[in-house]
């Protein structure tokens, strides 16, 4: 077989607490990101993503503590995004146990941060997070600040530039679809996946397992990220793997 399509649950964290997370597993403290990470590790998630949506500078250490505690009990790859502005921010997360860091706004305003991080720690840990909104048919622009602020930057150009600067992976989120449960923006995912030679993670809009399959087959993604369909118990990681395999895609067997 070939490398497996990765199924990645994403946990939104603010000031060290889960904002949107699992509400079905029997957790002692459902607001603790580490407890939720453990549940996903046990469920056979291929990777985990923490998105630090608080990421205020004074509370920066809370996510580092979350990562450190997660790495003590979870033995799966962890990506951390949100508030990573410099190579030193990345270093602190990597040394705490993160395997990859996702850089978003900073890579728009100061793209060289991508080459800084890739140069110091390797491309394999440098994820460029791309939040895009459709502006016309076949054209998307980069938006920052949770999709509210337009930058006028073409999403495809930005994606290619991120790869050239040394990003090892692109996390592509459709701000039009995020939270809608209508499925990924497949045209966006496909356009970017075809334009770069690094792996692409599809994000934003998953409402069912078919959406994940479409993200790979139609969108060309190498990994599928989702939040609510896992957190609210609609589907398990194993069911996502089964759906991918049923569609003829390589996915892990949950033992």
């Amino acid at each position: 077989m070939s490398v497996r399509i990765r199924v990645i649950p994403c946990l939104d964290v603010a000031d060290g607490r889960v904002v949107k997370g699992v509400n079905f597993v029997d957790l002692q403290d459902a607001g603790d990101p580490v407890e939720q990470a453990r549940a996903y590790d046990a469920a056979g998630a291929d990777e985990l993503c923490f998105l630090d949506i608080g990421a205020s500078h004074e509370k920066r250490d809370t996510i580092i503590d979350v990562v450190r505690r997660t790495a003590e009990v979870c033995f799966m790859p962890v990506t951390v995004g949100g508030g990573v502005r410099t190579a030193d921010d990345a270093r602190a997360l990597l040394m705490a146990g993160a395997d990859k860091v996702a850089v978003n706004s900073a890579a728009v305003t100061r793209p060289e941060v991508v080459s800084d991080i890739a140069g110091r720690f390797g491309s394999q840990c440098m994820v460029a997070s791309i939040d895009a909104r459709k502006v016309e048919e076949g054209r998307w622009e980069i938006f920052t600040h949770g999709g509210r602020t337009s930058t006028g930057i073409d999403a495809l150009d930005h994606a290619v530039r991120m790869a050239e600067l040394g990003a090892g992976e692109l996390l592509v989120t459709s701000m039009d679809r995020d939270g809608t449960r209508d499925g990924y923006d497949l045209a966006l995912t496909r356009a970017i996946a075809d334009a770069v030679s690094i792996p692409v993670v599809a994000s934003g809009g998953v409402g069912n397992l078919d959406h994940m399959v479409d993200g790979v087959i139609k969108g060309g993604a190498n990994a599928v990220l989702a939040a609510s369909i896992f957190h609210f118990g609609q589907h398990s990681i194993a069911e996502a793997h089964d759906a991918l395999r049923a569609a003829g895609l390589p996915a892990r067997h949950n033992s």
């Binding site: 590790d41 040394m95 690094i198 033992s255």
Partner: protein, 206 residues
């Protein structure tokens, strides 16, 4: 008395994750160390590593006496040695990544960029993939493990290869000889498979 397992601290990003995983796999005597004396007296040695070959090599060489201590303890005293990811790649004669860099030269071969044969093969090789043992080795069992690398170990001697995987081309998954083993995958990130592998390493009597 418990064995001392020296986990070499030369600034590698996966140091703490490897430490945590060794403990979870049952190790009691793990010492995270940058001291050659500790390495020279250890019962087992683990070399982590992520990032670029040259940067890792330089960081290891920057610790006065470390490579000499490793040479003595691993190659003369023959204690079990495990290299992980770039820690495995450093076993090679040389690495071609941002220039040419000398490796430890314990296992013949060169570390090269993975060349994608088609556009749908994305680099880095990132994610879960097979560990397919090529010959019977006490440590390697068939399974799925997590890989994260853009460079691979091009072995000089096929006999040194313990396991392979496939990403557009066959890639070395595990390599070594006698008391030396290196794995391209990350046991510290490979959930049950990875912890079971580390447990076997801790009990390994080559």
């Amino acid at each position: 008395m418990a064995e001392t397992i020296a986990l070499i601290d030369y600034g590698a990003g996966n140091l703490h994750s490897v430490h945590n995983a060794l403990i979870a796999a049952g190790a009691s005597g793990v010492v995270v160390t940058a001291h050659p004396d500790v390495v020279a007296a250890a019962d087992r040695i683990v070399l982590p590593g992520v990032g670029a070959f040259g940067a890792c090599r330089d960081a290891l060489a920057a610790i006065d006496g470390m490579i000499a201590a490793m040479e003595e303890r691993v190659r003369q005293d023959a204690v079990p040695f495990l290299g992980i990811c770039v820690g495995m790649q450093l076993l090679a004669d040389k690495g071609i990544e941002f220039g040419e860099h000398k490796g430890l030269g314990w296992i013949g071969g060169t570390v090269h960029a993975i060349e994608a044969p088609s556009v749908d093969i994305k680099i880095p090789h990132m994610g879960w993939n097979d560990v397919t043992p090529t010959a019977g080795h006490d440590l390697l069992e068939a399974g799925e493990a997590y890989y994260l690398h853009g460079y691979h170990f091009d072995a000089a001697n096929a006999d040194d290869i313990f396991a392979t995987t496939h990403h557009g081309m066959p890639l070395v998954s595990a390599i070594g000889r006698d008391n030396i083993v290196g794995v391209q995958f990350h046991p510290e990130k490979s959930q049950a498979y990875g912890l079971a592998f580390l447990k076997r390493f801790l009990e390994w009597k080559p």
